[in-house]
Amino acid sequence: MPLILLAIPSVFIGAMTIGPMLYGDWFGSSIARSATMEALAKEWHGAFGMMVHALTTLPFWLAIAGVATAWFLYILRPDLPAVIKKRLGVIPVILERKYGFDDFNDWFFAGGARRLGTGLWSWGDKTIIDGIMVNGTARLIGWFAGVARGMQTGYIYHYAFTMIVGVFGFLTFLLLLNKY
């Protein structure tokens, strides 16, 4: 019932507005009128003319044939669909599975994107960026600090020796700087 209630006004609103919307000035200057629409407007003879013209076209009669076939198979002879399906073998399966396109899309696009996403997250974010670059840097600093801590012996002669080496290195640097 709701579909019927929606269908009735759709027919009337469509009949009343199709002309001004497609070929009239319904949208004012908001939409540019193309040459194609101008050419099509010459073939436009109103909603009733369009309806009558539909009776002479193949799609209309194919649609009617579809309705008639459905009525015949599912209301007049509901025993027939099962028999036809059995006789046609694999064809109904192919049609029901939409030629396998949905299965392919699920496996290739959806599944592929998930597998790629999992790989990027696991290897890119968790292993390389967080594991090696971020936490690896922290570990490297920790290791270096551990090594540097080993040099802090507490013996004054060790510190004095380090200072002498430092002064020697600094003076060498200055001498080389002046020379070159």
């Binding site: 994107a113 990027l120 974010d125 967080d130 670059m133």
Partner: protein, 493 residues
Amino acid sequence: MFQGYVLSLTIWVPIAFGIAVLVIGRDQSPLPARWTALAGSVLGLVVCIPLWTGFQPAAEMQFVEMGSWIPRFNVNYHLGVDGIAMPLILLNSLMTVLVVVAHWEVITDKVSQYLAAFLIMSGLINGVFASLDAILFYVFFEAMLIPMFLIIGVWGGPNRVYAAVKFFLYTLLGSLLMLAAFIYLYNQTNGSFEILDFHRLPIGETAQKLIFLAMFMSFAVKVPMWPVHTWLPDAHVEAPTGGSVILAAITLKIGGYGFLRFNLPITPDASHFFDTFMITLSLIAVVYIGLVALVQQDMKKLIAYSSISHMGFVTLGFFIFNSDGMLGGLIQMVSHGFISAAMFLCVGVLYDRMHSRMIADYGGVANRMPVFAAFFVFFAMANSGLPGTSGFVGEFMVIMGTIKVSFWYTFLAATTLVFGAAYTLWMVKRVVFGEVANAHVAALMDVGRRELFFLALLAVLVLWMGVYPKAFSDVMNPTIQELLRHVSQSKLG
């Protein structure tokens, strides 16, 4: 009466109320603190209204305030806003109200400290957007880390300390290089920290490149751009709902704002030199992070990754150097503020009831929470870039701008429409639709008036910007046009 001090009020009113909340707050009776915080946040928003009503759509700085702060180093208390900063201040002040409302029945521990942290942070963030002195900017920029560090570290989840330290270190290390660049520019300008002086300063090629990289380190972390993004998912997952809202809606925008205020106008030649590099990182963020978002099992983590991907669109728009791209990027920043806040608030609504953020714990929520489900689906659609919502406007403009530069950039950027729809709607499908998954979902109650308020308000804003973006673009456009003109002129001389 206060016409000459509007920007100061937007900074100091929330901070003053934050301090007042701290002073009057008592753990045993948090109600006075709650009401004071609400009053402070609402007043903070009210004092921003003249910024919108009195703003002239022009490129120059408006509502300017100037006072000497540290005369010895010529550091000034210099404030002003243009079409880039003003909308972000309004966005921040609005989000503070929502965060205060959102906390009401949720936060029960150290309520006054929680609210004070948000109010003080709100003022500091307004200071970041309003500063025209580099040191003033730097002080606000660094100071706002402290309340956010506390919000994540004190009121966060089980792994909050790790997340807070990671957030703090990332952003602090980046900004130290920016400070070095400021000091170099101070010397070059013969002793000025004025950002507008930096804009006018001729700078050599090598210096421009180094300054660009120094500032890039700071703002890329903030955005965040790939590969310096991994602090954000951790911070979001551990932060309380309010923290996630401010992180996503506001603090990420500081990165984008920094590129517009500092990198592009101060180093225009370097910006052109590094444009391919920036576009590449942006596109990696869009595609790589979009794929990573797809496989997340935690709703907050998914939205966090989604934020990184959307912010990739922002930086892409900025570095293609045309009007559609740059304006689109700025609109995308504001739009993402609305949508990401709404998404995190939606997750917060669910978390408050179920104490789980895992997608697998949900299913069939629409059967028990139809009103909430309607909002959640609406915001998910907006996050996917549905026409008629704000999410569409910025992305569409950036795509329009990108197609003028390169088909392949556009092709890769447009994958966000596919990935965005895939990860967001797949999450919504698993959480909202289907049969009621378990007894916990069966016991769910729909949103109350408080939750309805903030969800409806954000829905109106998302629709407003989606249907009539002109209200926003008119404000932003003169500044963007002036910035484009400035960036098109070489500073090499």
